[in-house]
Amino acid sequence: MGSTNSTLSKIPNVEELMQETGFTPAHIVRLYDRFEALDKEKTGHLRPQDFGAINRLAMNPIGDRIIGAFFSPGQETVDFHSFVRILAHFRPADKKRPKDPSMPEPVNSRTSKLKFAFQLYDQDKDGKISRAELLQVLRSMLEMQVTEEQLESIADRTIQEADLDKDDAISFEEFRKSLEKVNIDHKMSIRFLR
């Protein structure tokens, strides 16, 4: 109640943001503090370099891709709203939410999370993960540790397994099908302690 009001009032359209993403006021405040901490020059926007300053992220093999997910094509900065919207994908799913077909899919549902993961593979956003795109991700995750042939054979095998309509690419439906047994909510969620 009282403790978060002053910070919340600093954020424009915060009600809308909470409605859209489902974060509680306390979470929004914590994320805002984090946003400000990352925005060292106090411009109100984050640039890729600000993300790059996070050491654990720089250490992550696909760190660049994750940073890229925050920036829409053509945009060079991220404001607080976009920052929160992307992070909302990783909010744990609301178990009690009734399935209302008329309402838009919540941002942290299983489908939305899978879509987000799909987009991280599918960089050119054509709706399919091509062999080249898959190879790119594999290369980032494995770099010097395996040979090019091994990478290619892994990519081939993966596409073979998942590709049901034999078009040599993985569509979103095929992606979803191949991961239907994975507990997405558990593995793609970040739980706040408070």
Binding site: G2, R56, F90, Q150, K181, M188
Partner: protein, 448 residues
């Protein structure tokens, strides 16, 4: 509720008045016993007062971490992710879900990470009436604001001028005294006098900061010809340590006021000041320090191996240079009490002058200093391992977290090696051992 609040606010006021008394008493030299009793009393009362008022009123920021983290290793997590697959993992394959592990880790670090945390001030459980430590500032009640206002007046108008005067006296006496002593011929008298001058100046400076220091295990105090290493939180560390003994300082020679102080200090007893160009040549630095240590009559050198200021909740990686010099290492752990004032120097946020001003307008600086038993490098132990051993001892004694991260990460980016390490770990899960992979028949069409 009202009555309780009133009672507690009265306690707060009492606590504030007590600080005043303690401040005045601490200006009496050599009355350390007296001031300790008052300090303990003050601690107890203000602790109770602030805890009850603030805890009742605001929800403070308690948690050191923001999010729940899975404790599992990369292998464990990947294994869980792949459990759905019908083939066994031992074939070592790639699964589309593998990347989820990295996504999550990446996003977790965006929301909260351990390293960036260390370079900003520690958050307190209850507010100590200093706006600078209140990260979640909001208006609670008129009474609290009035008390806070009173606190501001006391700190800025009463305590601050007293402290500034003392600081000026201390520094000028340091310069004058050491220069005077420098004129004496090299004899035991000179050394004794120089020690006296140094001690007196540092004690005055410590009063100027209202520092209450408690030394533990004085029998382990650094001896002549040794090297003293300590964890670094702020430039005040030097004043804190020098209050109890004389050290030879090591550092860069500056110009301006610092340069004047440095040059006059060297006149009375040898310190080791390096030119900026010399600092880059590690070999030259090491040999000069070695020469200093070898002369057994020289004062112990004071070194801060972290290389930069950390926020006093953890100890970061020790640079191995100081541990290659040889000689006996005397570790010292310094822990500031954050309730009375935040001693951490965030050099990115504040420059030296504004930092000192903040120090002089806090309530007090309460420090615990532990002298640890001396350590020497053992047979077959390299400098890095030795540095880590000393670091663990200091962290353990001071109740700080022992972290392997490098303090220079404040400014520099993480090295490529860390990323490669992650890649290596992952590749062992995908490709498996080399033998396994070569056995698999390549029946599918190979690269186009």
């Amino acid at each position: 509720m009202q009555g309780q609040k009133g009672q507690v606010n009265a306690m707060l006021l009492l606590g504030v008045y007590f600080t005043l008394y303690i401040q005045s008493f601490s200006y009496i030299p050599h009355s350390t016993g007296f001031s300790i009793i008052f300090n303990v009393l003050y601690l107890k009362i203000s602790d109770y007062a602030t805890n009850s008022v603030i805890y009742l009123c605001c929800s403070s920021l308690l948690f050191p971490g923001l999010i729940q983290r899975e404790g599992g290793s990369m292998e464990q997590e990947m294994g869980e992710l792949r459990r759905y697959r019908t083939q066994s993992i031992s074939r070592g394959e790639f699964a589309l879900s593998d990347s989820f592990y990295f996504y999550r880790k990446g996003l977790e670090s965006i929301v909260d990470d351990q390293v960036t945390q260390r370079f900003s001030s520690e958050e307190l459980v209850s507010w100590n009436l200093l706006t600078r430590t209140n990260h979640n500032f909001h208006y609670i009640s008129l009474r609290l604001t009035v008390i806070w206002g009173l606190g501001v007046i006391i700190r800025y108008c009463v305590l601050f001028p007293l402290r500034i005067t003392l600081a000026i006296i201390g520094i000028s006496w340091l310069v004058i005294g050491t220069t005077l002593v420098g004129f004496l011929p090299n004899r035991r008298v000179k050394n004794w006098l120089s020690e006296l001058v140094h001690l007196m100046c540092y004690r005055i400076c410590a009063r100027g900061l209202s520092a209450t220091i408690q030394y533990h295990n004085k029998n382990n105090k650094p001896q002549k010809g040794g090297i003293c290493v300590a964890n670094h939180t702020s430039p005040i560390d030097i004043v804190i340590l020098a209050n109890d003994g004389c050290y030879a300082m090591v550092g860069q020679s500056h110009s301006g006021l610092m340069g004047v102080i440095q040059r006059s200090m060297v006149r009375s007893c040898p310190h080791v000041w390096f030119e900026r160009s010399e600092m880059r040549d590690r070999h030259a630095v090491t040999s000069r320090l070695r020469a200093h240590v070898a002369a057994k009559r020289n004062l112990p050198i004071l070194i801060f191996p972290e290389g930069t200021c950390i926020n006093n909740t953890s100890v970061m990686m020790f640079k191995k240079g100081s541990f290659e010099i040889g000689g006996t290492i005397y570790p010292v752990a310094i822990k500031y009490d954050p309730r009375f004032g935040d001693a951490f120097w965030n050099s990115a946020k504040y420059n030296m002058v504004s930092y000192l001003l903040r120090m002089m307008t806090s309530w007090a600086i309460v420090v615990n200093v532990w002298y640890l038993p001396p350590m020497t490098r053992q047979e077959g132990e390299d400098a890095t391992k030795f540095a880590n051993r000393v670091k663990s001892a200091i962290a353990h004694q001071g109740g700080l977290l022992d972290m392997a991260w490098d303090g220079s990460l404040k400014r520099d980016k993480v090295k490529e090696e860390f990323k490669e390490h992650q890649q290596k770990m992952y590749s062992s899960m995908v490709v498996g051992k080399k033998a396994r992979n070569s056995q698999e028949p390549h029946t599918e069409s190979s690269k186009s």
